[in-house]
Amino acid sequence: MSRSEAVALGLTEGEYDGIVDRIGREPNQVELAMFSLMWSEHCAYKHSKKLLRTLPVEGPRLVLGPGENAGAVDVGDGWAVAFKVESHNHPSAVEPFQGAATGVGGILRDVFAIGARPIAVLDSLRFGEPTSERSRYLLDHAVAGIGHYGNSVGVANVGGEVYFEAPYEQNCLVNAMCVGLVERERLIRSAAAGVGNKLVLFGASTGRDGIGGASVLASAELGDADADKRPTVQIGDPFEEKKLLECSLELLDRGLLVALQDLGAAGLTSSSSEMASKGEVGLRIDVRQVPLREADMEPFEIMVSESQERMLCVCEPGRVDAVLEVCARWEVGGTVIGEITDTRRMEIFDGDERVGDIPVEALVDDCPLYDLEPAAPAAPLYDAPARTLEATAARDVLLGLLASPNVASRRPLFEQYDSVVGSRTVRRPEQADAAVLAMPNGGAIGISIDGNGRRVACDPYRGAVEAVLECAANLACAGAEPLGLTNCLNFGNPEKPHIAWQLTEAVRGLGDACRALDLPVVGGNVSLYNEGGEGPIYPTPVVGMVGELPDPLHAGRTGFAREGDAIAIAGPFAPALPGSELAKLRGEPLPDGLPETDVAAVRAAQAAIRDAVRGGRLSSAHDVAEGGLLTAVAESCLAGGLGAELELDVADEERVFGEGPGGFVVSAPEAALRELAERIPVTIIGTVRGESIRGPGLHASLDELRAAHGALAALFD
């Protein structure tokens, strides 16, 4: 095979020379196909690995860190919670229904590959403005795809977030997070072990779908010919996944497996070679044993197919029959396709003919890593948003903010997802700032996912810090203390200096925020080259966080709950208008930088809120985010179906509509607020009362607020 063929597969000429150097000859077609995927950005993290190594990965509750299919933290009494977020951006931009559906399927497999039963899915979506027909199409189909897959597999979809911004117009983002539950002693790793042990492929048969998904689709910018890439998008079958999930967990329950791994990007090539690399062994695979959908598939196609709903396991030879019996019980295909060797080489056979022979190390560990060449942009990277709000009266601004696509109720989306299956969902979407799930030991976990890309575009470092703080604030409002986080770094082309700068600064912010909160990063995913013809997306580090609370009966709520409660703004809240949702609606350009945050003070405020929620002293707690203080009050009104009488100077726009971390809208009897004020700043701003939000210069009925907040429903008519 030649250099030009390598370049067509997404490698550089230099990388091709490196391959020739490492294997001592020119690679054949099978080998080049395998290298082109394993050395792709998507699989090798070649532009991000050095940065990712700067993130903190240690913590007292950490059970599994980065490097396994999913990370995990200890939640007590022998139980661990596994979680990970992953992107499926480019497939979703090309074919939104299947792209989003298989994104859910992939992250579910990552979680059950370590032996955990998936119990929750959350999603993080980004589209262009809903005024664009293409964005509405992507939204509609991506949401339907997520629902179709998750609902059919029977995993509760308990939360998520969505933002609409012009820079995502051509390159939407679809990130999915899965949370699983596992007894610690049942966790299984993916390292292949035991020379002579058998490699069993089980699940769906292998077809030509998804060939080159990780390289030519996921690791390159989007462009005009994307419709031609639709065959690189995989097609999902949630029924097959459901059987595969139950089958995998039963195989583990019966103690039949040495190792387990899912097949994701780069299919059999990456799953098998990563198992070999982690186990420091070799593998011999006969592609002729692989059950195919199309009889005439070439060996290289079999090795790189990204057909969905497949798993690979290692078992002792004496247990093969028992493994295949479990597969048959679940009506899942299972076939021995190879065995473990001591050669530390990937030997690929087509029957008796050896069609590939590569050192595992060269394939998995030797991909060249690139240093980024970051440079802050000299001129603004993003156009000012379009001006869509002219109002200046506080009431009209509030209604405009509530109707803004980034603030409006997500009900039209989340009602398409089953949020209750599993009998664990203590707080469903819009009931609390974080989802709350009951745990088998009587405790509970809180889960949140967030990441406001526009704030990161204003200031990659502080925007990323804010994303971590925002998730932790959501957990605090539910009464949960963070245990760990996962992240998905969605950025543009890292070979461009200004994108490299965004990425470098954002990772620095993530790392600093994690260290300040003593939180480990348990794993995650990087999605680069998110650019269309009109430029890069907003830099979007999506943070998913899991925390614990001792008693689900005391999980917090967003909504006001009791007439006569005092309403207060609590915490070190220092709002500013630049970079806010209101500034966006008014078409103001993004500021060059965000105000500095006192992270220690924010952390202390989160702890105080958390303690007050856990103690049952607060009737409601809601963190101030997009739209600022008055929007947060209105959201608590709507969630609780109760009005508010406010004593606020609504002419002070910065105070009532400005944004920044550290602010919480809480309601409680005054005595409880006085107690909270002993720990953090608390200012009483009104009383829960009536059926409207009213104050000097402000009046809007709950019905008016609800109508504005329901703006997204029109997108799904």
């Binding site: 597999v153 949630p238 029924f239 459901k242 209750v420 299956v421 009998s423």
Partner: protein, 224 residues
């Protein structure tokens, strides 16, 4: 034990490939009686006094919701059990399966808006004299989650006496005929509904109103 459950009654909860809510149904049944999962490939009902056909997407709901499950070995036994007067409850996909099996009147069509909807709904108890609602009061409202894409009940020639539950005003999102949420067979021993009472049996997860369906069955099971 809540709602006067009885350990001498045993529920059998079917499990098909693609079932999603079978463990939830098992938990709900276990609050009022003994309960055990029954595998789709086995004909043995293991001495169950009452059968629950749970929610989910049996066999992927390929072809048509419930159309394949109806032919499974376990369903052969359930059909026989029902013909002999045994209590059978079908929830969501289970309701679809029982309609496909001819044990209940009517059919379930795609929701009017053709989308999956997951929403807490209020159901009005139309008939509190059945084996499935004897622990409810006539006209009582039950708050129970509904979640489905194919739940529009359609039975043009339905005997109105067979209606057990109706969606409360403003709560019927799927377009069901006469806002019917649950129906029984003429003999009164088979009942199906689209909403999920097994997801309303614990105050922690939102409501306990679904428990009365299971306790009614346990009560009726003792009476039988």
């Amino acid at each position: 034990m809540p709602h006067g459950g009885d350990r001498s009654v045993k529920f059998g909860v079917l499990q098909f490939p693609g079932s999603c809510d079978e463990r939830d149904a098992l938990l709900a049944c276990a609050k009022v009686a003994d309960a055990e999962l029954l595998w789709h490939g086995d004909r043995d009902l293991k001495g169950a006094d009452a059968i629950v056909v749970p929610g989910g997407f049996s066999y992927g709901d390929y072809l048509r919701a419930g159309a394949i499950a109806r032919f499974s070995p376990v369903m052969e036994s359930v059909i026989e059990f029902a013909h002999d007067g045994g209590l059978v409850l079908g929830i969501c996909n289970g309701f679809q399966v029982l309609c496909e099996a001819g044990l209940l009147p009517g059919a379930l069509l795609p929701n009017v808006e053709r989308r999956f909807v997951c929403r807490q709904v209020d159901l009005e108890v139309v008939d509190a004299e059945t084996a499935f609602t004897n622990r409810c009061a006539p006209g009582e409202l039950l708050s129970i989650p509904a979640k489905h894409q194919t739940g529009r009940f359609y039975a043009p020639d339905l005997d109105p006496d067979l209606v057990v539950l109706r969606y409360a005003t403003g709560h019927c999102f799927n377009g069901s005929q006469d806002e019917i949420a649950g129906v029984r067979n003429a003999a009164g021993n088979v009942f199906g509904l689209m909403p999920h009472p097994e997801h309303a049996v614990d105050p922690l997860t939102g409501s306990v109103d679904g428990l009365s369906i299971f306790s009614s069955m346990a009560h009726a099971g003792v009476a039988v």
